[in-house]
Symmetry: C2
Subunit: 123 residues, 2 copies
């Protein structure tokens, strides 16, 4: 990627790469209410592989958005919770959620219109 024109090093790009990861945002939203354990997350999301999960969790922790706490119980217990910083991001994401819930049907309608027009042209 060449940082010539409208790109690369701007914060927008950075954050987009972050929230672009749908799993990340999903996890963020999930644990922001209450801390969750690894397998709890896995079961709740159900569709994510443990590889992805562990990977995304690590990335989120690295960014300081979530916090990992290990309890030295007999079978190891690990708990993931949101950080204040992560909380603010989750809050920002809420706006997107609101938009989504408000406009998704309109988007879907637009898609149907578009597809209908295309297929009629194809015929």
């Amino acid at each position: 990627m060449k940082p010539n024109a409208y790109s690369a090093d701007c914060p927008t790009r950075q954050i987009l790469d972050r929230i672009g990861d749908k799993w990340a945002v999903l996890i963020l939203i999930l644990i922001r209410d209450e801390p969750m354990r690894f397998n709890a997350l896995r079961r709740t999301i159900e569709g994510i592989s443990q590889k992805m999960l562990s990977q995304v969790l690590k990335s989120l922790e690295r960014d300081g958005l979530i916090k990992r706490r290990v309890f030295a119980t007999v079978p190891v217990t690990v708990e993931y919770s949101i950080t204040p910083l992560g909380g603010t991001l989750a809050k920002a994401v809420d706006h997107l959620r609101d938009w989504a819930e408000e406009n998704l049907k309109e988007v879907t309608a637009a898609q149907r219109r578009y597809d209908a027009q295309k297929t009629s042209k194809a015929a």
Copy 2:
């Protein structure tokens, strides 16, 4: 993807898949001020292939977020502009941008801390 638990059909997921596409958001932000032509976009973003560009543009148009207008000039002229719906999404994304600009350095700092700790452990 199995739609068992916390997933798949919820609007959040849908919209995340959309804004997850960094190009899409970038384009949205770019053309929201003024309409742009294909190659203008390509030159401005500089880093996107024309395949990606045309693909993303089509997708955005399908979602009703941007509008494509063709002028029957001698060399064909195509202009992309934002729709009202797209405008509202761009607005929602602004909150993310604000968050990004406000907190990116904190995130970066967290990353450095994390990496430093890891490498010291590795040593």
